[in-house]
């Protein structure tokens, strides 16, 4: 049985006349990384604040590891780690002190707090900056500190609001590894991000949030199922020279096949179609060097949801 690490049912929250979150239903399962995707202003941060027990929803119900954060915030807080998008670090505290004091706020005793701070600095790669004051940290380093702070009490549910922005490529790979390890250890991760390509590599599943409401699975499937563009590159040939042979192999009108720099862009209705197309190209003897979706599935779905939403309103 898969138990849900985070469940939300019809969660709503408005600020004055602004309905920031108007109907979110989601389940982030244990042992998986779930992405939270949506345009700016979709209500991602508001939703995460409610999940983090800081904001009370106007309606609906939330369970964090089977605890209602509204009814019993203390129990929920002992189980959840939250990394905010706004990186507030105490400017004149060192990395070590920040983590040790945070651990004290989670009821670790003095020695346990000090030990935990050392572990976390190794885990997020801040060992060399242990005695640096937070004000001298770069944005990416502060982000790692924020992540370490969220992990201080070894939570079973991790809520991350835009954790990857500002991280360098190595740090992103580290973050990905950390989140995968976290999920593999049977914990729950909910991560929001704008960098969809990044998200795609780490999430098991994604929840789409548009205008404060989660998008139904059917609509997501529909959007994901719509025709996508693949990039095709032929080895040793200019795209303009190769386009004819590719179009021939796929039975397309060469005049209607666009070219983008070195790549030829081919729309396929589904992944199955794409696979058939690749087979046809290889059979026709075209020297395929690259054959990949031009946009990630998340990005594709996201863009499609955004545009269909735009068309509706």
């Amino acid at each position: 049985m898969v138990t849900a690490g985070i469940t939300a049912v019809d969660v709503r929250r408005s600020f004055g006349g602004v309905h920031a979150v108007r109907g979110v239903t989601l389940a982030a399962p244990v042992g998986a990384v779930t992405g939270l995707v949506g345009p700016n202003g979709a209500g991602k941060t508001t939703l995460l604040l409610m999940l983090a027990s800081l904001l009370a929803p106007d309606g609906g119900s939330i369970r964090i590891a089977d605890v209602d954060p509204v009814a019993d915030p203390a129990a929920a807080r002992s189980r959840l780690g939250w990394m905010p998008d706004a990186l507030g670090a105490w400017p004149s505290l060192t990395v070590r002190e920040t983590l040790a004091i945070t651990a004290r706020l989670y009821d670790l005793d003095r020695t346990a707090a000090a030990r935990r701070a050392e572990e976390l600095m190794d885990e997020v790669g801040l060992r060399d900056l242990a005695d640096a004051h937070a004000r001298v940290l770069s944005r990416g380093q502060k982000q790692r500190l924020g992540l370490a702070r969220a992990l201080v009490h070894d939570p079973s549910v991790l809520l991350l609001d835009e954790p990857a922005s500002g991280l360098d490529p190595q740090a992103r790979i580290d973050l990905r590894g950390l989140l995968r390890r976290f999920a593999a250890a049977g914990k729950t991760v909910l991560i929001s991000s704008h960098i969809l390509a990044e998200l795609e590599e780490v999430v098991d599943d994604a929840v789409f949030l548009v205008d404060g409401a989660t998008v139904s699975a059917e609509r997501v499937a529909e959007a994901a199922g719509r025709s996508r563009t693949w990039r095709v590159r032929v080895a040793g040939a200019d795209a303009k020279a190769a386009v004819l042979q590719v179009a021939d192999a796929l039975g397309l009108d060469v005049a209607r096949v666009p070219v983008d720099r070195r790549d030829i862009l081919i729309p396929f209705a589904s992944e199955d179609d794409a696979a058939r197309g690749l087979r046809a190209l290889v059979t026709a003897g075209v020297a395929i060097a690259e054959f990949s979706a031009a946009t990630g599935l998340l990005e594709h779905t996201f863009l499609d949801l955004g545009s269909s939403d735009g068309a509706r309103s």
């Binding site: 800081l54 009370a56 807080r77 945070t102």
Partner: protein, 363 residues
């Protein structure tokens, strides 16, 4: 309520403060001011013959009063932005999401601001020790005045933290803290002065003068020229009556009860010299405040033709014995204000938040 978490919140605040240079500059300026005050009060009280053997008391009390004054002036900036400033810097929510309860966060902040204010008292400590060497300082006075000083610093810290939780903008809450503290320090004085004058009563004074000869000697009924101080033989004029308004400070004296300086002076046991006059600043403030409790005489009579009466005026020591202390009422009022503000801050800061102060976000 968990002491470890409360202290962790306070430590967060204190660690940051002790690492800012401006904080030490402020303490240094404060120490310099106290050097000046100590030197001047040695000159002022050292020259008083009547209190020669008790001049330490005067110097000591002056330093305590000046310390309270400076703490009153500085404290609002130390606590007046503690919650909303953290919210602006996005460092409040990371604490709120831990196991620290709202009450622990609030009281931790109060404790930190309190300890910070006490640093000023600590800077004043060497000067207080010097004052006691000058002699005449009663240990009970030292104990009580320091307890009141410490309590006042704490109350101002709590007012600042409370307002910083209620108001969204740090600048506005610091200004409001100053306003509340000024209302206690200066507002009570102004209300006392204006109120007492506005509620003035009409008093009559009756004066009967004696008659004088052209050369300035008193006219005597028996024709002699020397009847000074002998009402029997004086020639007296008609009594003259005049009316005027007297301010009724006895009706508004209680307004001063909540003044921090009045609380400090009123709570401290006053020391008097042999003539019944106060030897220190506490006693002088007390004399003024307690004296205002006594209703003015609305029907005064001056009669030159009466035998000279012994002076019926009361000495400050007698006034103090004849009137009621008010410091505990004032302290209770201040505690009530601080408590109400902290409660307001608590309900605005507690999470999961329902209503947010306008113009703020959680993180």
């Amino acid at each position: 309520m968990n002491a470890a978490r409360l202290w962790a919140v306070a430590r967060l605040e204190l660690l940051q403060r002790v690492r800012t240079v401006s904080w030490y500059v402020l303490l240094g300026v404060f120490a310099l001011l106290l050097v000046g005050v100590t030197v001047l009060s040695f000159l002022a009280f050292g020259g008083m013959a009547s209190t020669g053997d008790q001049r330490g008391a005067g110097i000591y009390s002056t330093i305590v009063v000046v310390t309270l004054l400076l703490v009153v002036l500085v404290s609002p900036t130390l606590s007046g932005n503690s919650l909303n400033g953290d919210r602006d810097a996005a460092t409040l929510a990371p604490v709120q999401v831990t196991l620290a309860r709202t009450s622990e966060i609030l009281l931790g902040k109060v404790l930190a601001a309190w300890i910070t204010g006490l640093a000023f008292a600590a800077v004043a400590a060497p000067f207080l020790v010097i004052a006691t060497f000058a002699g005449g300082v009663d240990p009970v006075v030292v104990l009580v005045s320091l307890v009141v000083l410490v309590a006042e610093i704490g109350i101002i810290a709590a007012i600042g933290v409370g307002l910083s939780g209620i108001l969204a903008r740090p600048l506005f809450s610091v200004a409001s803290t100053y306003l509340v503290v000024s209302a206690l320090v200066f507002g009570t004085l102004i209300a006392f002065g204006l109120g007492g004058t506005a509620l003035s009563s009409e008093a009559t004074t009756t004066y009967r003068g004696m008659q004088y000869n052209a050369d300035g000697s008193p006219q005597c009924s028996d024709g002699s020229t020397d009847c000074w101080n002998d009402p029997e033989r004086m020639v007296c004029g008609e009594p003259e009556q005049s009316t005027y308004n007297v301010p009724r400070f006895d009706r508004v004296w209680w307004v001063l009860a909540a003044n921090p300086f009045v609380i400090l002076a009123d709570a401290t046991p006053a020391e008097y010299d042999r003539q019944g006059y106060p030897v220190d600043l506490f006693g002088q403030i007390t004399a003024g405040v307690r004296g205002s409790q006594i209703a003015p005489d609305l029907d005064t009579r001056y009669d030159d033709c009466a035998a000279v009466q012994p002076d019926a005026g009361l000495t400050p020591a007698e006034i103090r014995d004849a009137t009621v202390p008010s410091w505990f009422v004032g302290l209770a009022v201040q505690l009530l204000i601080a408590g109400a503000l902290l409660f307001g801050a608590w309900s605005r800061t507690k999470t999961p938040a329902r209503a947010l102060p306008p113009g703020t976000r959680i993180a």
